[in-house]
């Protein structure tokens, strides 16, 4: 892992992403060009409210499912999975 000050490296669906320190995991997913979850009928969904009430930005973070990624600060080496 690199250790550039102010930059955090994490992986979203296996892809390496660098974001500014203080970014949320939701922002990291957007930087990776992705969306957060598939809806129950299979639509792609991304963050909507940005403040932890709508649950659209859920993803699996470090093996924990159903995390609201807008509430979660990105941290070094995190593993994020956006589907299933």
């Amino acid at each position: 892992m690199s250790a550039t000050p102010g930059v955090i490296q994490l992986r979203v669906d296996g892809r390496q992403v660098a974001v500014a320190a203080g970014s949320s995991v939701a922002a990291a997913i957007a930087h990776a060009g992705g969306t957060a979850r598939d809806s129950v009928s299979g639509q792609r969904r991304a963050a909507l409210c940005g403040m932890g009430v709508c649950f659209e930005c859920r993803a699996t973070v470090d093996g924990r499912a159903q995390q609201r990624t807008c509430l979660l600060p990105a941290s070094e080496g995190m593993e994020v999975r956006t589907r299933g």
Binding site: A26, S41, A46, L48, G50, V53, C54, C70
Partner: protein, 435 residues
Amino acid sequence: MAERMHHCDVAVVGAGPAGLAAARAAASHGARVLVVDPQAAPGGQVWRQDLRHGVPAPARALSTQLQRAGVAMLLQSEVVGHSGSRLFLRSGQEAACIDYGALVLATGARELLLPFPGWTLPGVTGAGGAQALAKQGWPLRDRRVVVAGSGPLLLAAAATLRRHGTRVLGIHEQASRQAVAAFAAGLWRWPGKLAQAAVLRGALWNVPYRTGSHVLRALGDRTLRAVELRIDGRDVTVDCDHLACGFGLVPNIELARVLGCELEFAGAHAHVRVDQWQGTSLATVFAAGEACGIGGVDCALVEGAIAGHAATGNGNATGRLHARRRRARRFAAQLQRHFALGEALHALAEPDTIVCRCEDVPMSALAAYAPGREAKLMTRCGMGPCQGRICGSALAELGGAVRDGFRPPIFPVPLEVLAGFGDARPAGQTPGVVK
């Protein structure tokens, strides 16, 4: 037993302006104060830390004061239930409990998001939502953004988006030109607000601000490509990368409701009923700020202070605050009046427009059932993890389901956290009802 047990004289739920002001007032009387908030940093929404532009000065000052006063903060923590004067929390990934003497609810507000065709497309967010996401590092540089909906939050959101390098194509306010003009004409009575409006106006001087204008649909296949707007009766399609659309705010009253605080309605949406000391119908529970009706940061600060004094039995310390509260609430009433939502917004959703985004329930599925419980049981509308926070408020606004209750957990809670509560399980909660 819970893994972490906290004891305090005053527990404050919410670390926005109301909660922080309550904590400061309570701590000034020597009370042990604990503030709980789901975010990673205090400030709430209006004082949310901006990744690139830091923390607003008043928030920083208040946080420093609280630190000096020894106020404890339990961040990334959410109240999920209660039993008597014990709160049950998810704190990070663990269970925690708080035993309190008095409780201040400063749970703030969320955005009112109304369904329209295409609103589920990635690239469509709330207006405040876009602002919050920009501040947490969402990539927006050089993106073309349309801002739409209603209220002064649109201007604040547009200004933030601009500071983060977006191209704001236009701001579309549903209120009429006359209504907005009448509001602006009355602003001289609140010089602070007038100054704020002037600053925003300066920051957005070359962004078109269109009144009597609202979104019709968001267009795109897998992601947003364009927005169709109705501007003064004319339909216009605008190509864009992001739509930031919010129709004002609704109070977060779920915790108050579960505790059993009496509520009252302002239009379609409930808020907590409080007395002159910000006391709720429950003797040891107080409420302040948006939870008591949308009022903005000035209401939040003064009501938080009153609640903090009263919660420690020092109501006599609130002297001058009552006049300040009246003044702040008068301003809020002006906002509500002039930015009232027009009828046209009630007809945006089409039969196949999804209303409940958690369970993908379209408008047409609700038509066959009585609003409220029946529609919920038959369609699963409102039964997903947001627990009706988005669709329930939207349907209430559209004149459909006025929500008839709210059951714990107040937020979905992982089983491992629930197990951490051990025998001290929250009231009304059995493992069977937990998502």
